[in-house]
């Protein structure tokens, strides 16, 4: 079991609602941006400005006038308590400020104080409070303990979405120079290099050739992993973790095999080598747009006909729900396909058309369950029917596996629990909240592991995969019990389109001898 300098919650087979423990997570905050460039590159002040008080209020007013969601959500809450036991971070920490409404109220109390009649004249009566330095620090702490997973919004009678409030709060913090290191550093990297990890083109190319070699060694088929190929039909945009992290890379190998068997031409792009868009995490429309425009540019430059996204949760939200808004219209692409498509939509389409030969028995040693990634589940769709985002990945898994088991119905589908690492929290300085926030998902997993013999959990999100790899050991599981969905596809797919050994590989081997 992994070591922790905090108390790892005890695993049960079901979710228990804890009694509240005030201030339980008040000590936790992520690193603040240290290098001012990481703020200024994003259009924010380099460090906390002197007149932060007035500037923060000004920004709050500005956001209320530009986002109907924020304006309505700050007004409409009746404190019914429906959301109070729905957040995985509350269930894992018992801190009442991690209840969705508790988190919202940190901003709402300031909104009421300065923007409503009742709060201006009767602050005590309506729970309105002044904006102080303490409030600001509390925002910084608790708005970075929200993964923007939207589970609360499912249960709110007015659809109040804490993600919207968290994004607004983070944008306010950024606008006064009080940004989070992890997110802002990454966005700066995307603006500069093209992906979250700062991988330069040659490094990606090298990785992709390595994959071709691996597949050749295993299957004696040359499956190509092309980069920057002009005139390819499909541009694949995938999270940069797919290039090197486990089990992500096994998913990427799977996408390539599917494209290979489907007989389509495809390519990755150096400049759009990242599906993730951290602009959303910090609530910045401008940054989200800037990051999205790379994809449009790459699609135009490479003259592709379609765009397909790899396995990534928040990325798929932005791709599915926002890309057309941020970087559209995509009238230069083939109108016969949705823009963009999810790799699971693509693969499922190929399976339905009978284009893929699949040997399910290759996965017989695995009994997988599927973790619905929060932003895929509650902020996007696949296919043409509502709920396709639940069915299509499961259909794909069931087409390549004989043994599939679902977790408890209260913990999947639209009610799925976040992995605990989403929304800009996937950083070591937030490990405590990540581990505690994973509790509800781990409980549900324990149940199917013990009662139904589940061996692995499959996911379609780079963050989920990285998070599980880290967090599973804290709860007594193995880190490699997390799989990519296309890893299962990769195991089962039969490569019938035989292609000869790549010349460069033969040359390489000659040199080795």
């Amino acid at each position: 079991m992994a070591k922790a300098d905090f108390e790892v919650p005890e695993l049960k087979k079901h979710v228990e609602v804890p009694a509240i423990k005030e201030g339980a997570m008040a000590h936790l905050k992520p690193f603040v941006v240290k290098n001012p460039d990481h703020n200024t590159d994003l259009g924010f002040p380099g460090e906390l400005v002197d007149d932060w008080h007035d500037k923060a209020l000004e920004k709050l007013g500005d956001l209320c006038s530009r986002y109907r969601s924020l304006q309505v959500y700050l007004d409409a809450c009746v404190k019914c308590g429906s959301c109070t036991d729905k957040c995985h971070y509350f269930l894992g920490t018992a801190d009442p400020k991690n209840m969705p409404v508790g988190r919202q109220d940190l901003l709402r109390k300031v909104y009421r104080r300065y923007f409503t009649l009742a709060g201006k004249y009767f602050p005590k009566l309506v729970g309105a409070e002044d904006l102080t330095r303490e409030t600001l620090d509390e925002w910084y702490s608790y708005y970075h303990q929200c993964s923007q997973c939207r589970r609360c919004s499912v249960f709110c009678p007015y659809g109040i979405d804490t993600a919207e409030i968290s994004m607004a709060a983070r944008e306010i913090l950024d606008s006064i120079g009080y940004g989070q290191k992890y997110c802002n550093e990454i966005i700066a990297k995307v603006h500069k290099v093209g992906n979250n990890l700062g991988l330069p083109g040659p490094a990606i190319e090298d990785t992709l050739l390595g994959l071709e070699e691996d597949v050749w060694d295993e299957d004696e088929v040359w499956v190509k992993y092309p980069l920057d190929v002009e005139g390819a039909d499909i541009l694949l945009v995938t999270p940069s973790a797919d290039f090197f992290a486990e089990p992500h890379v096994d998913g990427l190998i799977g996408y390539g095999k599917v494209f290979h068997e489907a007989g389509v031409s495809w390519t990755l792009s150096t400049t759009a080598s990242e599906a993730g868009n951290f602009g959303m995490f910090i609530g910045s429309y401008e940054n989200m747009r800037r990051v999205s425009m790379r994809i449009r540019k790459a699609a135009l430059e490479l003259k592709v006909k379609r765009i397909v996204f790899g396995e990534c949760g928040h990325a798929w939200r932005i791709a599915y729900s926002f890309l057309n808004t941020l970087a559209g219209p995509f009238d230069f692409l083939d109108p016969n396909y949705p823009v963009p498509q999810h790799i699971c939509e693509f693969t499922w389409g190929q399976i339905q058309d009978g284009k893929l030969e699949l040997d399910k028995s290759e996965n017989d040693e695995i009994t997988p369950t599927f973790h619905d990634s929060c932003n895929v589940a509650r902020a996007s769709r696949m296919g043409d029917k509502p709920g396709g985002q639940f069915e299509i990945p499961r259909n794909v898994i069931k087409a390549v596996c004989n043994n599939y088991v679902d977790m408890h119905h209260d913990t999947i589908g639209e009610q799925t629990f976040c992995c605990g690492g989403g929304g800009g929290l996937l950083t070591d300085d937030l490990m405590e909240i990540r581990v505690k926030g994973a509790l509800p998902r781990m409980n549900a997993l324990k149940q199917v592991v013990e009662d139904q013999g589940v061996t692995h959990v499959a996911a379609i999100c780079a963050i989920c995969k990285s998070q599980f790899t880290k967090v599973l050991p804290y709860y007594g599981f193995e880190m490699d019990q997390i799989l990519s969905v296309h890893q299962l596809v990769s195991n089962a797919i039969v490569l019938n389109r035989k292609t000869g050994k790549p010349e460069w590989l033969e040359e390489d081997e000659d040199e080795d001898e």
Binding site: M99, R150, V154, N324, A379
Partner: protein
């Protein structure tokens, strides 16, 4: 005294209409730059109307969440709806047939309303999570509604008031021809509290009533790939490039 009540009632009504009207105008005018329906969401406008109908009439999301809160709040809101419809008879003449039909239900609906409110109050006091998020105004709002319901029930079932005079008062209010309001204690309590309720409506959490219809996570169609969604301020960013 009747004149004072008449003027206060008029002022409160105007505050309600103008205040809520301004809020609706604000919600309507504020753009929603991104497609954020909580999915799975309807893919057609008709589907959205159905989703909103289920939300507003059956409290679908609350039902998914907590059965106790759902039961109490649904009792309260449905009771209140029937009671309000029944009260139309004091403002219109002749009374429309449907309003006459619901008269017997409307009378007893007040019990459902008060019981629901008491349940919500109990939950607010006894569930630690809900107690934590409650401000004084949250308790006062429930008490206000409970006393309005209770004073109304008193008049219906215990100490009848001169309802003909009350009707005359309200029917002629807007022509400044009001007659005397009966000076009965339950009636004065009832009307005073209703005046307070009307007046604070646009400044309180009662804004959830118009708010729910403007909630982007509930009222948006799930069709971002098919139809480009763009608001003026976002379009302006594009022109800057």
């Amino acid at each position: 005294m009747s004149t004072l009540y008449a003027l206060l009632f008029m002022a409160a009504s105007i505050t309600l209409v103008v205040g809520v009207g301004m809020k609706i105008r604000q919600y309507y005018k504020t753009p929603a730059p991104l497609k954020i329906p909580t999915t799975p969401a309807p893919t057609t406008q008709a589907g959205v109307v159905m989703r909103m109908f289920r939300e507003v009439v059956f409290f679908e999301s609350l039902f998914k969440s907590t059965k106790w809160t759902w039961i109490f709040s649904w009792m309260f809101h449905m009771g209140l709806a029937l009671v309000l419809l029944r009260h139309l008879r004091y403002f219109i003449d002749p009374v429309w047939a449907p309003i006459q039909w619901i008269q017997p239900f409307g009378k007893y609906a007040a019990f459902a309303m008060v019981i629901g409110l008491l349940g919500l109050l109990a939950r607010r006091i006894f569930v630690d999570r809900v107690r934590y998020i409650s401000a004084p105004s949250d308790y006062l709002m429930l008490l206000l509604l409970i006393f309005i319901g209770f004073s109304g029930l008193m008049m219906t079932f215990v100490v009848h008031t001169d309802i003909v005079a009350v009707k005359y008062f309200f029917n002629n209010l807007w022509t400044f021809g009001w007659g005397p309001l009966p000076m009965d204690f339950p009636l004065l309590v009832h009307i005073t509290l209703v005046i307070v309720l009307l007046a604070i409506f646009p400044f309180s959490k009662l804004l959830h009533v118009p708010g729910v219809f403007f909630s982007p996570s509930r009222n948006q169609v799930d069709n971002p790939r098919e139809q480009r969604h763009i608001v003026p301020w976002a379009e302006a960013l594009e022109k800057k490039d």
